[in-house]
Amino acid sequence: MSAKQWPSDWMRAALGLCVLRTLAAGPTYGYAIAAALEENGFGTIKGGTLYPLLARCEAAGWIAVQWRVGAGGPERKYLSLTTAGRDELATQTANWRDFTGMVLAHLDNTSTGSTALTTGTDKS
Protein backbone atom coordinates (compact mmCIF):
# COMPACT_ATOMS: atom_id res chain seq x y z
CA MET A 1 0.00 0.00 0.00
CA SER A 2 1.32 3.44 -0.88
CA ALA A 3 2.46 5.47 2.12
CA LYS A 4 0.10 8.42 2.14
CA GLN A 5 1.08 11.14 4.57
CA TRP A 6 -1.80 11.63 7.01
CA PRO A 7 -2.14 14.77 9.16
CA SER A 8 -0.18 14.30 12.39
CA ASP A 9 -3.16 15.05 14.67
CA TRP A 10 -5.21 12.31 12.93
CA MET A 11 -2.31 9.91 13.48
CA ARG A 12 -2.01 10.91 17.15
CA ALA A 13 -5.72 10.22 17.64
CA ALA A 14 -5.74 6.80 15.97
CA LEU A 15 -2.29 5.37 16.67
CA GLY A 16 -2.92 4.13 20.22
CA LEU A 17 -5.95 2.13 19.16
CA CYS A 18 -4.17 0.74 16.09
CA VAL A 19 -1.16 -0.33 18.17
CA LEU A 20 -3.51 -2.22 20.53
CA ARG A 21 -5.13 -3.83 17.47
CA THR A 22 -1.72 -4.92 16.13
CA LEU A 23 -0.94 -6.54 19.47
CA ALA A 24 -4.25 -8.41 19.46
CA ALA A 25 -2.74 -10.86 16.93
CA GLY A 26 -0.25 -12.05 19.58
CA PRO A 27 2.96 -11.03 21.38
CA THR A 28 5.36 -9.04 19.23
CA TYR A 29 8.18 -6.47 19.48
CA GLY A 30 8.51 -2.75 18.76
CA TYR A 31 9.94 -2.78 15.26
CA ALA A 32 7.43 -5.47 14.15
CA ILE A 33 4.56 -3.22 15.32
CA ALA A 34 6.02 -0.26 13.39
CA ALA A 35 6.51 -2.45 10.29
CA ALA A 36 2.94 -3.82 10.49
CA LEU A 37 1.51 -0.31 10.75
CA GLU A 38 3.64 0.87 7.83
CA GLU A 39 2.45 -2.11 5.77
CA ASN A 40 -1.14 -1.08 6.51
CA GLY A 41 -0.64 2.41 5.17
CA PHE A 42 0.23 4.39 8.30
CA GLY A 43 3.63 5.49 6.92
CA THR A 44 6.89 5.23 8.84
CA ILE A 45 6.31 5.10 12.60
CA LYS A 46 9.37 6.44 14.40
CA GLY A 47 10.71 4.98 17.63
CA GLY A 48 10.22 8.37 19.29
CA THR A 49 6.48 8.13 18.54
CA LEU A 50 5.93 4.43 19.20
CA TYR A 51 7.75 3.80 22.48
CA PRO A 52 6.33 6.66 24.57
CA LEU A 53 2.88 5.43 23.47
CA LEU A 54 3.76 1.84 24.45
CA ALA A 55 5.09 3.11 27.79
CA ARG A 56 1.75 4.83 28.46
CA CYS A 57 -0.15 1.63 27.54
CA GLU A 58 2.14 -0.37 29.84
CA ALA A 59 1.60 2.11 32.70
CA ALA A 60 -2.18 1.82 32.13
CA GLY A 61 -1.90 -1.97 32.47
CA TRP A 62 -3.01 -2.71 28.89
CA ILE A 63 0.31 -4.20 27.81
CA ALA A 64 2.57 -6.79 29.46
CA VAL A 65 6.31 -6.86 28.72
CA GLN A 66 8.67 -9.79 28.55
CA TRP A 67 12.31 -9.90 27.44
CA ARG A 68 13.07 -13.02 25.37
CA VAL A 69 16.16 -14.18 23.55
CA GLY A 70 15.45 -14.10 19.80
CA ALA A 71 16.34 -16.93 17.45
CA GLY A 72 20.13 -16.54 17.22
CA GLY A 73 19.79 -12.83 17.90
CA PRO A 74 19.89 -10.46 20.84
CA GLU A 75 17.22 -10.19 23.52
CA ARG A 76 13.95 -8.71 22.40
CA LYS A 77 11.27 -6.91 24.33
CA TYR A 78 8.03 -8.73 23.53
CA LEU A 79 4.77 -6.96 24.20
CA SER A 80 1.39 -8.60 24.61
CA LEU A 81 -2.13 -7.45 25.43
CA THR A 82 -3.36 -8.04 28.96
CA THR A 83 -7.01 -8.80 29.70
CA ALA A 84 -7.48 -5.13 30.56
CA GLY A 85 -5.83 -4.29 27.23
CA ARG A 86 -8.28 -6.52 25.31
CA ASP A 87 -11.21 -4.87 27.10
CA GLU A 88 -9.75 -1.43 26.30
CA LEU A 89 -9.32 -2.41 22.64
CA ALA A 90 -12.95 -3.55 22.43
CA THR A 91 -14.22 -0.36 24.11
CA GLN A 92 -12.04 1.98 22.05
CA THR A 93 -12.92 0.15 18.80
CA ALA A 94 -16.66 0.51 19.51
CA ASN A 95 -16.21 4.18 20.43
CA TRP A 96 -14.10 4.81 17.34
CA ARG A 97 -16.79 3.24 15.12
CA ASP A 98 -19.44 5.48 16.71
CA PHE A 99 -17.23 8.53 16.36
CA THR A 100 -16.21 7.94 12.73
CA GLY A 101 -19.83 6.99 11.93
CA MET A 102 -20.98 10.30 13.37
CA VAL A 103 -18.32 12.22 11.43
CA LEU A 104 -19.22 10.41 8.18
CA ALA A 105 -22.93 10.95 8.76
CA HIS A 106 -22.25 14.63 9.23
CA LEU A 107 -20.03 14.83 6.16
CA ASP A 108 -22.58 12.95 4.02
CA ASN A 109 -25.54 14.97 5.26
CA THR A 110 -26.44 17.12 2.25
CA SER A 111 -28.95 19.19 4.24
CA THR A 112 -26.27 20.50 6.69
CA GLY A 113 -25.33 23.49 4.53
CA SER A 114 -28.90 24.75 4.10
CA THR A 115 -29.64 24.16 7.83
CA ALA A 116 -26.69 26.38 8.75
CA LEU A 117 -27.99 29.09 6.49
CA THR A 118 -31.55 28.97 7.78
CA THR A 119 -30.61 28.85 11.50
CA GLY A 120 -27.76 31.39 11.32
CA THR A 121 -28.23 34.89 12.81
CA ASP A 122 -28.84 37.52 10.22
CA LYS A 123 -28.69 41.09 11.53
CA SER A 124 -29.36 42.79 8.20
Binding site: Y29, G30, Y31, R56, W67, P74, E75, K77
Partner: protein
Protein backbone atom coordinates in the same frame (compact mmCIF):
# COMPACT_ATOMS: atom_id res chain seq x y z
CA UNK B 1 17.29 7.77 0.08
CA UNK B 2 17.49 9.08 3.66
CA UNK B 3 20.73 10.32 5.17
CA UNK B 4 20.69 7.37 7.58
CA UNK B 5 21.01 4.91 4.70
CA UNK B 6 23.88 6.79 3.05
CA UNK B 7 26.02 6.70 6.16
CA UNK B 8 28.44 3.95 6.87
CA UNK B 9 27.08 1.34 9.31
CA UNK B 10 30.04 1.72 11.64
CA UNK B 11 29.62 5.48 11.88
CA UNK B 12 25.91 5.01 12.47
CA UNK B 13 26.51 2.51 15.29
CA UNK B 14 29.07 4.83 16.89
CA UNK B 15 26.66 7.76 16.68
CA UNK B 16 23.80 5.64 18.02
CA UNK B 17 25.89 4.46 20.99
CA UNK B 18 26.73 8.11 21.75
CA UNK B 19 23.01 8.93 21.61
CA UNK B 20 22.20 5.99 23.93
CA UNK B 21 24.84 7.28 26.35
CA UNK B 22 23.10 10.66 26.21
CA UNK B 23 19.74 8.98 26.86
CA UNK B 24 21.21 7.24 29.94
CA UNK B 25 22.41 10.59 31.30
CA UNK B 26 19.12 12.34 30.55
CA UNK B 27 17.15 9.60 32.34
CA UNK B 28 19.58 9.81 35.27
CA UNK B 29 18.97 13.57 35.40
CA UNK B 30 15.24 12.81 35.57
CA UNK B 31 15.98 10.58 38.60
CA UNK B 32 14.72 7.40 36.90
CA UNK B 33 15.99 4.24 38.62
CA UNK B 34 18.71 2.04 37.12
CA UNK B 35 16.45 -0.90 36.19
CA UNK B 36 14.08 1.30 34.18
CA UNK B 37 17.02 3.06 32.50
CA UNK B 38 18.49 -0.33 31.52
CA UNK B 39 15.13 -1.33 30.01
CA UNK B 40 14.65 1.95 28.10
CA UNK B 41 18.18 1.91 26.67
CA UNK B 42 17.98 -1.76 25.63
CA UNK B 43 14.57 -1.12 24.00
CA UNK B 44 15.89 1.81 21.96
CA UNK B 45 19.03 -0.18 21.01
CA UNK B 46 16.85 -3.09 19.83
CA UNK B 47 14.71 -0.79 17.65
CA UNK B 48 17.79 0.88 16.16
CA UNK B 49 19.37 -2.49 15.34
CA UNK B 50 16.12 -3.67 13.69
CA UNK B 51 15.41 -0.49 11.72
CA UNK B 52 19.01 0.47 10.86
CA UNK B 53 18.04 4.07 11.54
CA UNK B 54 19.99 6.88 13.13
CA UNK B 55 18.89 7.41 16.72
CA UNK B 56 18.55 11.17 16.33
CA UNK B 57 16.30 10.70 13.27
CA UNK B 58 14.15 7.96 14.78
CA UNK B 59 13.84 9.16 18.38
CA UNK B 60 14.66 12.89 18.21
CA UNK B 61 16.99 14.36 20.83
CA UNK B 62 17.85 12.16 23.82
CA UNK B 63 16.55 14.88 26.14
CA UNK B 64 13.16 15.12 24.40
CA UNK B 65 12.75 11.33 24.18
CA UNK B 66 13.67 10.83 27.86
CA UNK B 67 10.99 13.36 28.82
CA UNK B 68 8.42 11.81 26.41
CA UNK B 69 8.83 8.36 28.00
CA UNK B 70 7.41 9.78 31.23
CA UNK B 71 9.16 7.22 33.45
CA UNK B 72 8.61 7.74 37.20
CA UNK B 73 11.40 9.30 39.27
CA UNK B 74 12.82 7.59 42.34
CA UNK B 75 11.62 9.14 45.58
CA UNK B 76 14.95 9.96 47.27
CA UNK B 77 17.15 10.85 44.27
CA UNK B 78 16.99 14.61 44.95
CA UNK B 79 18.00 14.00 48.57
CA UNK B 80 21.23 12.35 47.35
CA UNK B 81 22.31 15.39 45.32
CA UNK B 82 21.56 17.86 48.11
CA UNK B 83 23.28 15.56 50.63
CA UNK B 84 26.42 15.51 48.48
CA UNK B 85 26.34 19.33 48.19
CA UNK B 86 25.97 19.67 51.98
CA UNK B 87 28.87 17.27 52.61
CA UNK B 88 31.09 19.18 50.15
CA UNK B 89 30.13 22.49 51.76
CA UNK B 90 30.96 21.30 55.27
CA UNK B 91 34.23 19.76 54.06
CA UNK B 92 35.29 22.99 52.32
CA UNK B 93 34.53 25.07 55.42
CA UNK B 94 36.67 22.57 57.37
CA UNK B 95 39.49 22.86 54.82
CA UNK B 96 39.45 26.68 54.91
CA UNK B 97 39.31 26.75 58.71
CA UNK B 98 42.22 24.31 58.94
CA UNK B 99 44.28 26.44 56.55
CA UNK B 100 43.71 29.45 58.80
CA UNK B 101 44.45 27.52 62.03
CA UNK B 102 47.58 25.50 61.38
CA UNK B 103 50.09 28.36 61.86
CA UNK B 104 48.45 29.96 64.95
CA UNK B 105 48.31 26.46 66.49
CA UNK B 106 52.03 25.83 65.99
CA UNK B 107 52.88 29.35 67.25
CA UNK B 108 50.32 29.05 70.10
CA UNK B 109 48.53 32.26 69.13
CA UNK B 110 44.85 33.07 68.39
CA UNK B 111 43.26 32.69 64.96
CA UNK B 112 42.43 36.05 63.43
CA UNK B 113 39.53 35.91 60.99
CA UNK B 114 39.61 38.62 58.35
CA UNK B 115 36.71 40.10 56.41
CA UNK B 116 38.07 38.61 53.20
CA UNK B 117 38.10 35.06 54.59
CA UNK B 118 34.50 35.42 55.75
CA UNK B 119 33.41 36.78 52.38
CA UNK B 120 35.20 34.02 50.45
CA UNK B 121 33.65 31.37 52.74
CA UNK B 122 30.15 32.73 52.03
CA UNK B 123 30.86 32.81 48.28
CA UNK B 124 32.17 29.21 48.28
CA UNK B 125 29.09 28.01 50.18
CA UNK B 126 26.81 29.89 47.76
CA UNK B 127 28.52 28.25 44.76
CA UNK B 128 28.12 24.80 46.35
CA UNK B 129 24.47 25.48 47.20
CA UNK B 130 23.74 26.32 43.54
CA UNK B 131 25.78 23.42 42.14
CA UNK B 132 22.96 20.80 42.22
CA UNK B 133 20.78 23.16 40.14
CA UNK B 134 23.62 23.93 37.72
CA UNK B 135 24.77 20.32 37.31
CA UNK B 136 22.17 19.26 34.69
CA UNK B 137 23.02 22.34 32.58
CA UNK B 138 26.76 21.62 32.90
CA UNK B 139 26.26 17.99 31.81
CA UNK B 140 24.04 19.00 28.87
CA UNK B 141 26.58 21.58 27.71
CA UNK B 142 29.34 18.97 27.96
CA UNK B 143 27.28 16.56 25.84
CA UNK B 144 26.21 19.11 23.23
CA UNK B 145 29.39 21.21 22.94
CA UNK B 146 32.01 18.50 23.52
CA UNK B 147 34.43 17.81 26.37
CA UNK B 148 37.19 20.17 25.16
CA UNK B 149 34.91 23.23 25.06
CA UNK B 150 33.37 22.25 28.41
CA UNK B 151 36.89 21.97 29.91
CA UNK B 152 37.87 25.40 28.52
CA UNK B 153 34.63 26.93 29.89
CA UNK B 154 35.15 25.29 33.30
CA UNK B 155 38.79 26.49 33.41
CA UNK B 156 37.72 30.04 32.48
CA UNK B 157 35.01 29.96 35.17
CA UNK B 158 37.49 28.65 37.74
CA UNK B 159 40.02 31.36 36.87
CA UNK B 160 37.36 34.07 37.12
CA UNK B 161 36.29 32.85 40.58
CA UNK B 162 39.95 32.63 41.72
CA UNK B 163 40.56 36.19 40.47
CA UNK B 164 37.57 37.43 42.48
CA UNK B 165 38.93 35.66 45.59
CA UNK B 166 42.41 37.17 45.09
CA UNK B 167 40.92 40.65 44.69
CA UNK B 168 38.83 40.20 47.85
CA UNK B 169 41.95 39.05 49.75
CA UNK B 170 43.97 42.07 48.56
CA UNK B 171 41.15 44.51 49.31
CA UNK B 172 40.55 43.18 52.84
CA UNK B 173 44.17 42.58 53.82
CA UNK B 174 44.08 44.12 57.31
CA UNK B 175 40.37 44.06 58.09
CA UNK B 176 40.16 41.66 61.04
CA UNK B 177 36.64 40.81 62.19
CA UNK B 178 37.40 38.68 65.27
CA UNK B 179 40.03 36.39 66.83
CA UNK B 180 39.46 33.06 68.58
CA UNK B 181 41.68 30.41 70.29
CA UNK B 182 43.27 28.13 67.69
CA UNK B 183 42.69 24.70 69.31
CA UNK B 184 38.83 24.65 69.33
CA UNK B 185 38.75 25.93 65.74
CA UNK B 186 41.27 23.24 64.75
CA UNK B 187 39.15 20.50 66.36
CA UNK B 188 35.93 21.72 64.68
CA UNK B 189 37.76 21.99 61.33
CA UNK B 190 39.04 18.39 61.60
CA UNK B 191 35.55 17.11 62.47
CA UNK B 192 34.02 19.02 59.53
CA UNK B 193 36.66 17.57 57.23
CA UNK B 194 36.54 13.95 58.34
CA UNK B 195 32.87 13.38 59.25
CA UNK B 196 31.30 13.91 55.75
CA UNK B 197 33.58 11.49 53.80
CA UNK B 198 33.36 8.97 56.66
CA UNK B 199 29.55 9.12 56.52
CA UNK B 200 29.58 8.90 52.71
CA UNK B 201 31.92 5.88 52.83
CA UNK B 202 29.48 3.92 55.02
CA UNK B 203 26.39 5.09 53.10
CA UNK B 204 27.88 4.39 49.66
CA UNK B 205 26.92 0.71 49.43
CA UNK B 206 23.24 1.53 50.20
CA UNK B 207 22.95 4.30 47.61
CA UNK B 208 24.33 2.51 44.55
CA UNK B 209 21.70 2.31 41.82
CA UNK B 210 23.36 0.43 38.94
CA UNK B 211 21.91 0.42 35.43
CA UNK B 212 20.58 -3.10 35.04
CA UNK B 213 20.19 -4.55 31.52
CA UNK B 214 16.91 -6.48 31.02
CA UNK B 215 17.03 -10.12 31.99
CA UNK B 216 19.66 -9.67 34.69
CA UNK B 217 19.41 -8.74 38.36
CA UNK B 218 21.40 -5.95 40.03
CA UNK B 219 23.61 -8.67 41.56
CA UNK B 220 24.63 -9.76 38.02
CA UNK B 221 25.89 -6.32 36.97
CA UNK B 222 29.65 -6.24 36.50
CA UNK B 223 31.59 -5.32 39.62
CA UNK B 224 33.43 -2.02 39.66
CA UNK B 225 37.13 -2.43 38.84
CA UNK B 226 39.78 -1.79 41.50
CA UNK B 227 41.00 1.30 39.61
CA UNK B 228 37.54 2.90 39.59
CA UNK B 229 37.01 1.84 43.21
CA UNK B 230 40.26 3.57 44.26
CA UNK B 231 39.27 6.62 42.20
CA UNK B 232 35.90 6.80 44.01
CA UNK B 233 37.60 6.47 47.42
CA UNK B 234 40.15 9.17 46.49
CA UNK B 235 37.32 11.46 45.29
CA UNK B 236 35.44 10.95 48.55
CA UNK B 237 38.53 11.81 50.62
CA UNK B 238 39.89 14.52 48.28
CA UNK B 239 39.32 17.37 50.76
CA UNK B 240 41.12 15.49 53.56
CA UNK B 241 44.04 14.72 51.23
CA UNK B 242 44.07 18.37 50.07
CA UNK B 243 44.05 19.66 53.66
CA UNK B 244 47.06 17.48 54.57
CA UNK B 245 48.96 18.85 51.55
CA UNK B 246 47.85 22.43 52.37
CA UNK B 247 48.96 22.16 56.02
CA UNK B 248 52.33 20.65 55.01
CA UNK B 249 52.83 23.46 52.47
CA UNK B 250 51.93 26.21 54.99
CA UNK B 251 54.28 24.74 57.62
CA UNK B 252 57.05 24.33 55.03
CA UNK B 253 56.71 27.95 53.88
CA UNK B 254 56.70 29.09 57.52
CA UNK B 255 59.93 27.17 58.17
CA UNK B 256 61.55 28.79 55.11
CA UNK B 257 60.41 32.26 56.24
CA UNK B 258 62.19 31.95 59.58
Amino acid sequence: MTTSKIRDAHDRDTENEKWLEGLTIELRLLDVNGTRIGDAVATAREFLADSGALAEESFGSARHYAAELGLPATADAAKGVWGAALRSGLGLVGLMALGQTVLPLTHQTDVTVGFGVLLITVLVLAIIAFLPRLLPTIIERTLSHGKVRAFVEAAAGGMAVTLVFVLISLWSADRIVFSVPALPVFIVAVVLLIAPPLWAQFQHSDQVDPIVPPGSSSADTPRISIGIRLFLIATNWILVISSVILCAFVLFMDTLAR
